[in-house]
C-alpha cells in the first residue's frame, strides 16, 4: 500500500506574528504561571456560568493577541477556533462578535495545532495573509459535559487528568516575525483499544508516537535536529508510555522532551496525573515555549498536540477511544535564509 503523505513543508515561511495566553487561577500557580499574559483569579472569570466564563477567556485571548502587534480587526482574513464543548459553542459565540470569515474546528485537545496547521496551509496557498487561531477549555464546563457534576462525590484514580482552564490565541501571518512555522504533520486517527475515559494520557500516547514517527520520516530529519519536542497533554502516564514507545523504535528524546500536561500544574500535582484539555498545549506553547524561543533558549521546536476524540455517550456505550495528534514544527526565524 502506498504511504499517504501527511506532512507539508512550507517553502515560503509562515510566521507566528503574535500569540496570547489567558488562564484560570490554578494554572497561574503552576510553574509556567508567570509566562502567561493574563490570569483570572476566579474560575467564573467574572461571569455567571462556566460556559460564559469560557467565552470570556477566549475573547480575552483574542483581544490580547490582536493588541500585541496592534493588529486591526480588519487585517485578519480568517478566524479558526475550537473548544471542547458540544458543537464548539464557545468558538461560535466568540466569532459572533467579529466580522471575520470563520471556521470552527474540533480535534479535542489537539485543536490548537489543528488550527495553526490549517491557518499555515491557507497562508501558504496565498489566499489569505493573516489567520487568527484560538482555542479554549474550562475545567467546570468540561467536567460537567464529559463526566459527573463538579460537586458530586468521587474518588479519582491516579491516572485522572484535570482540564486546564484557559484560552490561547495565535496570529499566523506572512509578516516576518521571530518564530516561523516550517512544516506541519496532520495526524491519523489511532486507536489502540483503550476504554478508560479517566486515563486519556495513555490512550493518546500511540497517536502522538505515530505522528512523531511519520513527521521524522517525511521530513527526513532525526530527533536530534530539534532542541525541544513537546507533546500536548499526555501527562504523567501517557508521556512515560510515549517515551517508551519512542525508545522501542530507537528514538532517544528524554533529554529534549517536555509534556504540556506535566508542565502546567507542576510535575507531581496532588491527586491527579496532570493537565489536559484544549488549552493545555496552547498555554504551555504560547506562553512558555514561545517566550523561551524568543530569548533563543530553544531554536527548533516540534509541538505534537494530542487529542482523545471521544464523547461521553460512546464511552458509556463501551466503545474504545480513538485518538489523534497533529505536529507543527516551529523554528526561530533568524536561522532561516532569506
Amino acid at each position: 500500500m502506498k504511504d499517504i503523505k501527511q506532512t507539508w513543508m512550507f517553502n515560503n515561511p509562515v510566521y507566528i506574528e503574535a500569540a496570547a495566553s489567558v488562564s484560570g487561577p490554578k494554572e497561574k500557580l503552576g510553574p509556567i504561571g508567570r509566562f502567561l499574559d493574563k490570569s483570572f483569579s476566579d474560575l467564573y472569570c467574572g461571569e455567571s456560568t462556566w460556559e460564559k466564563a469560557e467565552r470570556a477567556l477566549m475573547k480575552e485571548a483574542v483581544t490580547l493577541c490582536l493588541g500585541k502587534q496592534s493588529t486591526q480587526v480588519d487585517d485578519v482574513g480568517l478566524f479558526i477556533a475550537g473548544d471542547l464543548l458540544n458543537q464548539n459553542v464557545t468558538s461560535h459565540y466568540t466569532a459572533r462578535e467579529y466580522p471575520w470569515p470563520y471556521l470552527g474546528v474540533f480535534g479535542a485537545c489537539a485543536t490548537s495545532m489543528e488550527g495553526i496547521a490549517i491557518g499555515a496551509m491557507s497562508i501558504q496557498s496565498g489566499m489569505v495573509s493573516r489567520v487568527l487561531t484560538a482555542v479554549s477549555s474550562h475545567y467546570g464546563a468540561v467536567e460537567r459535559q464529559f463526566r459527573l457534576p463538579l460537586e458530586h462525590v468521587k474518588q479519582h484514580p491516579k491516572t485522572a487528568m484535570r482540564t486546564v482552564t484557559g484560552a490561547g490565541a495565535a496570529l499566523v501571518s506572512t509578516k516576518r516575525s521571530p518564530i516561523a512555522i516550517r512544516s506541519v504533520t496532520i495526524g491519523r486517527v489511532v486507536d489502540w483499544g483503550m476504554k478508560d475515559p479517566l486515563d486519556m494520557g495513555q490512550a493518546m500516547a500511540p497517536a502522538a508516537f505515530d505522528t512523531f514517527k511519520k513527521h521524522l520520516k517525511e521530513t527526513g530529519k532525526t530527533e536530534n535536529d530539534y532542541d525541544l519536542i513537546i507533546t500536548g497533554d499526555l501527562s504523567m502516564f501517557g508521556s512515560r508510555q510515549f517515551l517508551e514507545l519512542c525508545e522501542e523504535d530507537g528514538f532517544y528524546i528524554t533529554d529534549r522532551y517536555l509534556d504540556g500536561g506535566n508542565t502546567i500544574f507542576g510535575y507531581h500535582p496532588e491527586g491527579f496525573a496532570g493537565g489536559s484539555g484544549a488549552a493545555c498545549s496552547a498555554l504551555v506553547l504560547y506562553g512558555y515555549v514561545f517566550h523561551k524561543m524568543r530569548s533563543e533558549h530553544w531554536k527548533k521546536v516540534l509541538c505534537i498536540a494530542t487529542g482523545a476524540l471521544f464523547n461521553p455517550l460512546t464511552t458509556r456505550q463501551k466503545e474504545t477511544i480513538p485518538c489523534i495528534a497533529h505536529a507543527v514544527e516551529f523554528e526561530l526565524a533568524d536561522g532561516l535564509e532569506e
Binding site: 455567571s48 456560568t49 462556566w50 460556559e51 460537567r144 459527573l148 457534576p149 463538579l150 460537586e151 458530586h152 462525590v153 468521587k154 474518588q155 479519582h156 484514580p157 491516579k158 491516572t159 489502540w192 483503550m194 486515563d199 495513555q202 500516547a205 500511540p206 502516564f237 512515560r240 508510555q241 517508551e244 514507545l245 522501542e248 491527586g271
Partner: protein, 154 residues
C-alpha cells in the same frame, strides 16, 4: 508470527497494567471504615439525644437523624467542600445517606444555569434516580415474592 506493531501493542498493554494496577485499596478501605464508622457513631449519639430532647420513641427518632445528615450533606455540597472530602474519604461518605443527598444536590446545582424547570428540577435525579429506581424495583420484587409465599402457605 506476530507483527512488529502487535508486539509493540502487547508491551504497551503490559506497561499500562503495571502502572495503573497499584491502587492503594487497603489504605482506602481502612479510611472508609473509619469515616463510615465515625459517622454511624455520630448518628447513634444524635439518635439518643433526639429521643431525650424531643421526647421521641425509637421508631420516630430515626427519620430526624437521617434528615439531619441529609441537611448537612446538602449544605456542605453547596459550600463546595463535599467533593474534596470524598476524594480522600471515598466510600465513607458515599455509602451513608450523605452520598444520596450529595448526588441530588450536586446535579441540581450544576444545572442551575438552565433555569429552575429544565435545569434544577429536571436534573436533580440524574444520578440519584439510580437509587430510587433500583430501590423501588427490587423492593417491589422482594415484597411480591414474600406476599406470594405467605399467601401460598396460608
Amino acid at each position: 508470527m506476530k507483527t512488529n506493531e502487535q508486539i509493540m501493542k502487547d508491551r504497551f498493554e503490559e506497561r499500562r497494567k503495571k502502572m495503573t494496577s497499584d491502587r492503594p485499596w487497603v489504605k482506602n478501605a481502612l479510611i472508609a471504615y473509619l469515616v463510615g464508622g465515625a459517622l454511624a457513631v455520630l448518628g447513634q449519639w444524635l439518635f439518643n439525644r433526639y429521643m431525650i430532647w424531643f421526647d421521641l420513641t425509637e421508631k420516630e427518632a430515626v427519620n430526624p437523624v437521617l434528615a439531619t445528615f441529609i441537611f448537612f450533606a446538602c449544605l456542605l455540597t453547596g459550600f463546595g467542600v463535599f467533593d474534596k472530602w470524598s476524594e480522600k474519604w471515598g466510600a465513607g461518605l458515599i455509602v451513608p445517606v450523605t452520598g444520596f443527598a450529595n448526588s441530588v444536590t450536586s446535579s441540581g446545582m450544576e444545572a442551575r444555569a438552565e433555569g429552575i424547570v429544565f435545569g434544577v428540577t429536571g436534573n436533580m435525579f440524574r444520578i440519584a434516580g439510580v437509587v430510587l429506581v433500583f430501590g423501588v424495583v427490587s423492593a417491589y420484587l422482594v415484597s411480591f415474592i414474600r406476599v406470594l409465599i405467605e399467601t401460598l402457605i396460608n
